[in-house]
């Protein structure tokens, strides 16, 4: 089985979010970048397939050279080789089309991507990729088993879960639950050393369109002051929730 794991290179969850150039660009100054958490859960599941069922695992990122340390980390966790499509990730369809090319060239059986990246929160690349290449697609995947050519997938739905069956090739959008937090792997020294020797294949982008354009950013208004309530006077809270906030 050939698995492709999509790796988005995102600001660490503790990053302060600021913008530059007249609020048109994300300010990367002092920001530490990591593997998108949803992707890391997916990558960890891919490692399980590699070790338990026999699979090769490639990781891919659409982005500039600055994303290579993030791909190297994925290699240190255990992926076999990395592909970087050398172009900025301009919008969802643009990235999906680059990935579609990688998918076709590589003849993959399974693509694992995070359900969304924590920077733009688009939540669209995995579904678009599947749509473009005609592969089956399951989103918010929290369980995946593969036998032969068939996958059994558990999908989180609002208020429960659903079990689905689909033939490969399959694309999933995944999140925590596909593996547990405690299953995540911290690269060890050996992994880091090996990762340096693993292939980092840089491919040039195909020329294609975008469908959306991020024009500018804005930070939320600072919020008003909190009202403190004496724990001995909970009637006041009930009153405020009813008359001031009007939420009960």
């Amino acid at each position: 089985m050939k698995i492709l794991v999509c790796i988005s290179h995102v600001p660490d969850t503790t990053s302060k979010i600021n913008f530059t150039e007249g609020d048109t660009k994300f300010d990367t100054n002092g920001v530490q970048f990591v593997i998108n958490p949803n992707d890391e859960f997916g990558l960890t599941r891919a490692m399980w397939f590699k070790e338990k069922q026999g699979a090769t695992v490639d990781v891919v990122n659409v982005g500039g050279a600055e994303t290579e340390p993030t791909l190297r980390k994925a290699l240190a966790i255990g992926a076999d080789s990395a592909i970087r499509v050398n172009t900025p990730a301009t919008d969802g369809i643009y990235v999906a089309k680059q990935l579609a090319k990688v998918f076709k060239d590589g003849g993959y059986d399974l693509v694992i991507a995070g359900r969304e990246s924590i920077d733009y929160n688009g939540g669209m690349v995995p579904g678009m990729l599947a749509g473009l290449v005609g592969a089956n697609f399951v989103n918010t995947c929290i369980g995946l088993e593969i036998e032969g050519n068939e996958a059994t997938v558990i999908r989180e739905i609002d208020g429960g879960k659903e079990t689905l069956r689909a033939a490969l090739p399959l694309v999933i959008g995944t999140q925590k639950g596909i593996v547990e937090e405690s299953d995540l792997r911290i690269p060890n020294m050996r992994g880091i050393m090996q990762a340096r020797k693993k292939p980092m294949n840089v491919v040039e982008p195909i020329e294609t369109n975008t469908n959306t354009e991020a024009v500018k950013f804005e930070k939320p208004e600072p919020r008003g002051d909190i009202k403190m309530i004496d724990p001995e006077n909970l009637d006041e809270l009930v009153d405020l929730l009813h008359n001031e906030a009007k939420v009960i």
Binding site: A214, D235, V247
Partner: protein, 322 residues
Amino acid sequence: MSVLVYTESEEGKFKKTALEVASYAKGVADMLGTGVTAVTFNAGDTSELGKYGVSKVLKVNSDKLKKFNAKAYTDALKQAVEKEGSKVVVLSQSANAKYLAPLLAVQLEAGYASNVVALPESTDPLQVKRTAFTNKAFNFTNITTDVKIIGVSKNAFGLKESSAELSEEEFSPNLSDGDFSVEVVSVDKAADKVTIADAEIVVSGGRGMKGPENWGMLEELAETLGAATACSKPVSDMGWRPHSEHVGQTGKPVAANLYIAIGISGAIQHLAGVNASKTKVVINNDPEAPFFKAADYGIVGDAFEVVPKLTEKLKKFKSDNA
């Protein structure tokens, strides 16, 4: 040319988010000088949609579509868009809508903006305001394609009544076997529980609750308020609560009217996921807990004392106001 809206129903009844996206679609239609067409799947009485500005309903009734199936629903919606010649499609950000939206975007060669929180800033170009960086910022995005898909965040726009004369039409899309290549084997859903996605009020517990055995008091509070229960990430990682209750940047987003955080410190990743909620109440015994900087009402106190008392007060309030 009408604005097309995908109005989701469950057991034949519309969800509140369906009425919200209908209200939003009406707002967009007014800006464009057109009407709103809703597509429903196995919904019963659709007259309610008329109250939120829908003027036409395409009713899909099909046994094959009893269970949500992303590919098949996408195909049906695509055919509806083509039939109506719609240029704007509006949908919610429910798990199902988020699942099908990118598929629909490919089918229609449409640009798709997710997590939209307000009516378009302009219609030419069509510019929308959406959240990014998990609620830490807003992002203004132009959708540059002929057909445009807007995913509207829950609770961002609200319900807006505006009555319209409603006409109904049966609509039978042509579905192929390929539409069902992903087969739904079983659905496992707690029927009587309020879900985090649909809840107006969410009661959330953190590590300060000390252990799963103490969740009874949170459940009682939640039940009193008709609320869903949620938790912080470590609580689900330790197995005190199911993963489905984990909220925050790497869990579910919460955009409730009222979010009550109990024994939760307010780490940045937690706040990112819940701060779209309108009113936040924090109960924590540490006055230095960061959550107090991000909430509307705060109580410094021991959850084990405050929560049962608060539940009693709320029960009394409910019975006085029943």
